[in-house]
């Protein structure tokens, strides 16, 4: 048993997966034992940086595939993105946490827990992304839910507990249904693949997916779509998402939006690839297109009624996940390319927005949009960065989101012009809502609260540390919008083909 396990697990030091998964796992245990949170903040940053370095080494060394873990063109980029945003968020978190702790909103014992859970969360996401076994994938997504539930409830306010409970119950049911779907996939594969571990290894399954029982695969996909779709936040299964984003600490909102939703969608896409390889099973595309469109529409209308700044951008995340799901539902190399690009851009820009929102709510002392006014006057640098980030997420050129949205719509037009119409309408409605909200927050006379908080300065160094991730993300999104390197384009195209 132990002998067979050692061949399955990445235990060699020369294997990048050993470091990618090992760093956050042992980091989490180490941080749980570290009593001083001042040290924990920097240890957290260091571990995240080391994980990022390990992820970067994947470009050079690609580990051999085992029955439990594998790296292919698709997940290598998500591993990189996750490690990168994980690292920048840990930087932002170092500035954010210092402020929260000084304002006595978080106690030292909470912070110890927070840092440990942060690394545990990164571990579960990286585990989900590198898992070859669909059972391990499921366990990892479940564990990611657990760690984030704990972090959403960190503030211990009634709202935070309610949000965490709602998130917990809804996503538990969601992953429960996803497990049922996973069991059905195994049952569909078992007559072809035989009993045991190979019948759950994705790389083995995809080779013979054409021979799986098509009816069982169709039924399974419905369960998987509803199950993992709950975690992606697709309407009408999105109810947990705005609350969880709004009530947790802001660095967690950033990784929830920027990373966890991607991971859930990644799980769904792996199953979509399996079912698409089976010509007799149902077409996954139309279902995904329908869910995507409903998310875009619901979120775009909901944006107008939001009074809470974090909730506003949570709904914007639902909209963007809708666009990405729609793009992958359309399928074809170009639409998949657009979906992948949009996934990347949304991760970068949305987490940048949450970094800005975190600093804004700390400066203004409130999350109410009505009380936040004149940011460009009171905090020029933060204010203008926020303006740029919101314009980017609304889809204005020259930022990367514009390019990916343009690609989604133009590729849809080429295939079925009528399908592009609802997406365009949804995008326009969203655009209006975001610009309208932005105007009030960014311009005009600074509000009373904003001016008051100016007196409570944070040291310049810490503020700069908090600002670096925001600027870095926006610069990357801008560069991607203006110029994508040929190598990256070729690679995205290759993945787009892989996705079918």
């Amino acid at each position: 048993m132990i002998g067979s396990l050692s061949t399955l697990l990445p235990l060699g030091v020369q294997n990048p997966l050993f470091w990618i998964l090992g760093m956050p796992l042992f980091g989490s245990l180490f941080l749980a034992c570290l009593p001083n949170w001042h040290h924990a903040v920097w240890v957290n940053v260091l571990i995240s940086a080391a994980t990022l370095a390990a992820a970067a080494s994947l470009l050079v060394v690609r580990p051999a595939e085992t029955l439990l873990f594998f790296i292919d063109d698709f997940n290598i980029y998500l591993v990189g993105l996750t490690a990168f945003v994980g690292f920048t968020t840990s930087l932002f978190s170092s500035a954010y946490i210092g402020r929260e702790s000084r304002d006595r909103r978080l106690l030292p014992q909470h912070l110890r827990f927070y840092h440990s859970m942060y690394q545990a969360f990164l571990f579960t996401m990286l585990l989900a992304l590198t898992a070859n076994n669909i059972g391990v994938l499921w366990v990892a997504v479940e564990a990611a839910t657990l760690t984030t539930v704990l972090m959403v409830s960190l503030y211990r306010t009634r709202e935070a507990i309610e949000a965490a409970w709602k998130y917990f119950i809804l996503c538990s049911v969601g992953i429960g249904l996803a497990l049922f779907g996973t069991i059905l996939v195994y049952l569909a594969a078992q007559p072809v693949m035989g009993d045991g571990v190979p019948a759950m290894a994705w790389t083995q399954m995809i080779k013979r997916a054409g021979a799986f029982q098509p009816e069982l695969m169709s039924l399974a996909f419905v369960f998987l779509l509803v199950g993992y779709g709950t975690k992606v936040g697709l309407a009408p299964l999105h109810a947990w998402l705005p609350d969880a984003h709004a009530e947790g600490p802001t660095p967690i909102s950033a990784v929830l939006s920027g990373l966890l939703l991607n991971v859930a969608l990644y799980a769904l896409l792996r199953f979509k690839m399996l079912i698409a390889a089976n010509s007799h099973a149902l077409q996954p595309g139309p279902l995904m297109i329908a869910m995507g469109c409903s998310s875009i529409f619901l979120a775009s209308f909901m944006l107008y009624r939001r009074g809470d700044i974090k909730r506003l951008f949570a709904y914007s995340s639902i909209e963007h996940m809708g666009i990405i799901t729609f793009a992958f539902g359309m399928g074809g190399t170009l639409a998949n390319f657009a979906g992948l690009l949009h996934m990347t851009m949304h991760s970068l820009v949305k987490s940048a927005i949450f970094f800005a929102v975190g600093m804004i709510t700390q400066a203004a002392g409130t999350k109410r949009i009505a009380d936040i006014r004149g940011l460009t006057t009171s905090h020029p640098f933060l204010g203008w960065s926020f303006v740029i980030a919101v314009l980017a997420i609304a889809g204005l050129p020259p930022m990367g989101i514009f390019m990916s949205e343009f690609l989604v719509i133009s590729s849809t037009f080429a295939r079925n012009a009528w399908l592009a119409v609802p997406v365009m309408i949804g995008l326009l409605i969203t655009f209006g809502a975001l610009i309208w909200r932005l105007q009030g927050m960014a311009f005009g006379r600074p509000g009373q609260l904003v001016a008051d908080s100016e007196r409570r300065h944070q040291s310049t160094f810490v503020r700069a540390i908090g600002m670096i991730p925001l600027v870095a993300h926006l610069v990357l999104a801008l560069v991607a919008g203006v110029y994508l390197p040929d190598a990256l384009v070729a690679w995205f195209q290759a993945v787009g083909k892989l996705l079918g």
């Binding site: 059972g135 059905l184 007559p191 009993d195 069982l216 039924l219």
Partner: protein, 229 residues
């Protein structure tokens, strides 16, 4: 599988026993919907978990898969004994209302439950035409248990009954997993779920959650959503 072969699997002891145990689990699911008192709900859940342990042990014997005994043991010790004990303690400790508060009456819930069972049979039996009879029937029963658990979560107000609904849904999932011949990772999945359940109980205790959070007071909802001006 042709009808003759299908008929032949009736009367075989391995199939009949699995079928019987599955049916008892399904009955317990209806029992959960029917109970009006919290202690009775918890007792019914405990019984269901114990029967599930029996189902897992039977599958371990029939499939010759010793790792399923571990699943059976988890179901028996954790879900059948520890969880009900903890739930009873919670109800006493937090002074939770002892009668089950329903969002939908018992009668309509039972009718909806029967409808869900019919739905799962109609869905599962045709799509598993080429599987063995054991897989087919087991899957149909497991899916019914999952859907009934979902129904219970929707129609009960109290946080404890909601969690019991989730755990009974999970019993259905484990039933499906042990019935899938040769499925790996079943034990790991049982453990992962146990952690989830332990978290839920811990959450109820730690945050003193009594009600499910859907207060009928709209004013409260508005403050919560940050929409009140």
């Amino acid at each position: 599988m042709n009808p003759a072969e299908h008929l032949a699997s009736f009367g075989r002891i391995s199939y009949d026993t699995a079928h019987l145990i599955g049916a008892v689990i399904l009955m317990m699911s209806f029992g959960l919907l029917y109970q009006r008192r919290l202690t009775a709900v918890i007792r019914t859940y405990s019984l269901q978990a114990m029967v599930l342990a029996l189902a897992a042990a039977w599958q371990a014997l029939v499939q010759d898969a010793p790792h399923l005994y571990a699943s059976a043991l988890i179901a028996l010790l954790f879900k059948g004994i520890a969880v009900p004990f903890a739930l009873n303690w919670l109800v006493r400790r937090l002074g939770i209302h002892r009668t089950v508060e329903t969002a939908l009456g018992i009668g309509p819930t039972m009718i909806a439950g029967v409808g869900l069972v019919a739905l799962s049979i109609v869905l599962v039996l045709p799509v598993t035409a080429s599987s063995t009879a054991m897989t087919r029937e087991n899957l149909a029963i497991a899916m019914s248990v999952v859907l009934l658990g979902l129904l219970m979560m929707i129609t009960r107000r109290n946080a404890v009954t909601q969690v019991v609904g989730f755990m009974s849904l999970e019993n259905g999932l484990i039933l499906a997993a042990v019935g899938a011949k040769g499925m790996p990772l079943v034990v790991e999945i049982s453990i992962a779920f146990s952690v989830l359940v332990a978290m839920a109980l811990f959450g109820i205790f730690f945050f003193r959650i009594r009600e499910r959070f859907d207060s009928l007071d709209i004013a409260y909802l508005e403050t919560f959503r940050g929409e009140r001006r």
